[in-house]
Each structure stands twice: as structure tokens, then as C-alpha cells.
């Protein structure tokens, strides 16, 4: 598997969160095929910037899931647009 750079990881994570609506970090780490610690670190950074929010899980009492904030959804839209330009230069 090709080694993904940080931008690719962020984009992939945001895409999965957007598709799922709400997801817990463990499931996310499995979906993006990345270690839980690495996923958690990136999630914390994105949450600090107000791109993600944590909400109580409906399925499991006491646990939390993550979801995109409007700012995060906006970033995802922008990343999709800029992606093709970055791909053209071999940056993605």
C-alpha cells in the first residue's frame, strides 16, 4: 500500500466521518487503516481547530462519537476542490 502523507490522511478521515455522519475513533482507525493513536492525535488537532465535535453515542451509553462541524464540512468541500490541483503536481 502506498504511504499516505498527512494531507491524504486528513482528507480520508474527513471523508469517512462525513459518510458515516457519526463515528467512534476505533471504527475510524479501522476504516482508514491507521493506528488508533495516530488517528486520535489527528482527531484532537482537528477538534482543537473546531473542525470536529464529540457527541454522546446513541448506541453505547457513556461513549462518545465524532462528527463534522459546519467548519469541518466546509474544509472537506474545499479539500475536494483543491485535491485535483495538488494531484496534478504529484502532491497527493
Amino acid at each position: 500500500m502506498k504511504k499516505r502523507n498527512r494531507l491524504e490522511l486528513v482528507l480520508e478521515m474527513l471523508e469517512v466521518i462525513n459518510e458515516e455522519g457519526e463515528i467512534n475513533p476505533t471504527k475510524l482507525s479501522l476504516k482508514v487503516n491507521l493506528s488508533y493513536d495516530r488517528v486520535k492525535r489527528i482527531l484532537n488537532e482537528l477538534a482543537e481547530k473546531g473542525l470536529l465535535m464529540t457527541v454522546p453515542s446513541d448506541e453505547r451509553k457513556g461513549s462518545v462519537v465524532i462528527a463534522l462541524t459546519p467548519k469541518g464540512a466546509n474544509l472537506l468541500r474545499e479539500l475536494r476542490r483543491l485535491k485535483s490541483l495538488l494531484e496534478d503536481y504529484g502532491l497527493l
Binding site: E45, K49, L75, L79, L82, L86, G90, L91, L92
Partner: protein, 185 residues
């Protein structure tokens, strides 16, 4: 101003506005996700945009020396911009073939051409003093060439100042040495 010049200025203005916009978009992206090569990508477009501003001004400015300076500045900014772009591609990519590109860029810079020619003359020249002078001169050109690429990093300015000063000092010494020979003769 004739129609051709007007067209050039208009095209340059449109290009610089578009490049500044692209640069701004990638800068805001960087501020949100902090990926190093994205800021380098943004810098590339900022340099290209500034280069187009300089190019426009070179047409508009009536003073010939200033116009020439701006014209040269536009190509220097473009070369620096593409160099930064190569850095960002290298940063993001694992492809080793890209490592060959920066040396190729270096070779085509005028200062590097001066460095290679003066180095060749150094090798061919006879006489200790002449070889010494030419060696320092070629080194000064090398440092100046490298400095133009490193200007965006800040250290380039100091390298440029050091190369200019060393070149002037050694030229003075050499002029005095030659004068001595001429007077003796």
C-alpha cells in the same frame, strides 16, 4: 503606451490576481491543517503572482534602469517560485527522480553559469595569484547563485551580502596587484 504593451499589462494583472487568489486559498488550508508542503505550494503562487506584478510594472515604469530591474526581478521570482514548488514536491513525494531537478535549476541560473566559467578559467589559468583571485571570484558567484534560491528562507540575504563583499575585496586586492605589475613594467 501601445496596444501590445496594454495587452501585456492586462494579462499580467489578471495572472497575478489569479495566482494571489490560489496562494491565499492554500495559505488558509495550511492554517487549518498545518501540512508543511501546502505552505510551500502557497508561496510558489505568491512568488509567481509577485513576479507578474513586477513584470507589469516593468512595462509601465518609464525609467529604463528601474524597468530593467523589475524585468529581471520578475524572472528571478519565477525561478525562486518554481524552486519552492520543487521543494514542496520533494517534501511530499518519495520519488527519488525529483532530487535531480534542483541541481538542474541551479545550472541554468546566470550566477551559476558565471561560476562554472570562472572555475574553468581558474583551472586553465597560470600563476598563483591569478588562480587565487579567480577561485574566490567563482566561489562568490556560487554563493550568489545559491543565495538567490535561498532568499525565501532568509539566509539568502546574508549569503548575498557576504558574496558581494568578498568579491569586492578580492577584486580590489587583485586590481592593486595588477597595478603594481603595470607600473613596474
Amino acid at each position: 503606451m501601445d496596444a501590445y504593451q496594454l495587452l501585456l499589462v492586462a494579462l499580467n494583472a489578471v495572472c497575478s490576481a489569479l495566482f494571489f487568489y490560489i496562494s491565499f486559498k492554500f495559505l488558509t488550508l495550511y492554517l487549518r491543517i498545518k501540512v508543511g508542503y501546502v505552505v510551500l505550494f502557497s508561496m510558489t503562487f505568491a512568488m509567481l503572482a509577485t513576479g507578474h506584478v513586477a513584470s507589469s510594472l516593468s512595462v509601465l515604469v518609464p525609467e529604463p534602469r528601474l524597468s530593467l530591474t523589475l524585468y529581471t526581478l520578475s524572472s528571478s521570482l519565477a525561478s525562486s517560485g518554481f524552486f519552492v514548488l520543487l521543494c514542496s514536491i520533494l517534501y511530499a513525494s518519495k520519488e527519488r527522480v525529483f532530487a535531480l531537478v534542483p541541481p538542474l535549476i541551479l545550472i541554468v541560473l546566470p550566477d551559476m553559469v558565471a561560476f562554472m566559467l570562472s572555475l574553468l578559467v581558474t583551472i586553465l589559468a597560470r600563476g598563483r595569484y591569478l588562480k587565487g583571485y579567480l577561485a574566490v571570484l567563482s566561489l562568490a558567484y556560487l554563493v550568489r547563485g545559491l543565495s538567490s534560491l535561498l532568499i525565501p528562507l532568509g539566509i539568502g540575504v546574508y549569503m548575498l551580502l557576504a558574496s558581494e563583499l568578498s568579491k569586492m575585496l578580492v577584486t580590489l586586492l587583485f586590481a592593486v596587484y595588477h597595478l603594481g605589475k603595470v607600473i613596474k613594467a
